[in-house]
């Protein structure tokens, strides 16, 4: 079986999978496991600890390996999908757009 793994790890070329012990197989399984999580509660139960440890290291400014960084990115992306969405603030967006337009038009003092 040929499989293209294009996220989380740096494996981008087709690899032949013969055994579950192959790294690519484990990576694919990890991605599928992560994507199969559909509730925040489940995500926290399954991946909360791992994300917490990685995120705390990132917040502390500790260097992460490329693999850890991408893993944290994948976890963050999945978490963002599961967190409840705030309703968009149209009044705020509209007002900010008007303010930006006025500032770009008249923001620079005119030469006297």
């Amino acid at each position: 079986m040929l499989l293209m793994v294009d996220s989380v790890d740096s494996v981008r070329t087709p690899v032949k999978l013969t055994s579950p012990s192959r790294p690519a197989f484990r990576i694919r399984q990890w991605i599928l496991d992560l994507q199969s999580v559909t509730s925040l509660e489940e995500f926290m139960r399954l991946h909360g600890e791992e994300r917490h440890q990685l995120a705390m290291r990132r917040l502390a400014g500790e260097p992460l390996t490329e693999r850890e960084r991408r893993r944290l990115e994948a976890l963050d992306a999945q978490l963002d999908r599961l967190l409840p969405r705030r309703p968009p603030r149209k009044d705020l967006d509209d007002t900010l757009a008007s303010a930006r337009r006025l500032i770009s038009l008249y923001g620079t003092p005119r030469p006297r």
Binding site: L40, R45, E49, T95, L96, L102, L105, G107, P109
Partner: protein, 225 residues
């Protein structure tokens, strides 16, 4: 020292925690969440010491805050309290660290907010606790960072428009400038608690206008409730 002083709760006879809703609405005027400090349309009553763990404090008004559904859900504080360890399966939940309590803590001593909305842990004694809070409450999620960025941009835009108004610039569209500035001031007044809690500086002139707008909004809110 805390920047939010809820004052004395109302004295009610045999109250349920829900009876304190109107008092909480006033304390957290602007619909500001006690944990992420961002305004939200739907705020829920949160028990700082979780109901399941501290049944004797369920109806205690000093145990109540208003929180958004994210902070009050599994992606936030939820039923965490370090004295009643293990809300989740995380080992880190046994760290013993307290979640931010706006009635006791000063968020400005714990966090820094960059212009792009990024939240950081302020260096110092509370740094580890601040980092832990950012992570546990998901304060660095994309949605919240974007919300904070918009609030910072609102402040920056208002300061710049005020400066233009002061300098007599944009004469051709003075009416439009006044209108947009008025809207920005109202938005800032609604989010005033965010700027207060995090000690984000505001020019004296803008502060005066925002305070005026806030007083008007608060009076309307009291009249309607």
């Amino acid at each position: 020292m805390a920047r939010l002083d809820p004052g004395d709760p109302p004295e009610l006879e045999d109250p349920s925690y829900r009876d304190f809703r109107s008092w909480l609405d006033e304390v957290f005027f602007d619909r500001t969440c006690a944990y992420c400090m961002i305004d939200a349309c739907q705020l829920q009553i949160d028990h700082y010491e979780p109901q399941g763990h501290a049944p004797d404090r369920v109806d205690d008004p000093t145990n109540l805050v208003l929180a958004c559904e994210i902070c009050n859900g599994p992606g936030g504080k939820w039923d965490y309290h370090p004295h009643y360890a293990k809300r989740r399966s995380r080992r880190s939940d046994e760290s013993g660290i307290m979640v931010l309590d706006v009635r006791v803590d000063d968020p400005a001593c714990l966090f820094t907010i960059a212009h792009d909305g990024t939240i950081g842990a302020r260096a110092g004694l509370g740094q580890i606790r601040a980092m832990w809070n950012i992570e546990v409450l998901e304060l660095d999620s994309r949605d919240r960072t974007r919300d904070r960025e918009k609030l910072m941009e609102t402040l920056d835009s208002a300061e710049r428009l005020l400066e233009m108004q002061r300098d007599g610039r944009a004469e051709a569209s003075r009416g439009e400038l006044d209108l947009v500035l008025g809207r920005l001031v109202e938005l800032l007044a609604r989010a005033r608690l965010f700027f207060d809690l995090l000690d984000i500086p505001m020019s004296e002139q803008l502060r005066t206008r925002v305070d005026g707008a806030r007083d008007r909004l608060l009076a309307d809110f009291r009249a309607s409730s």
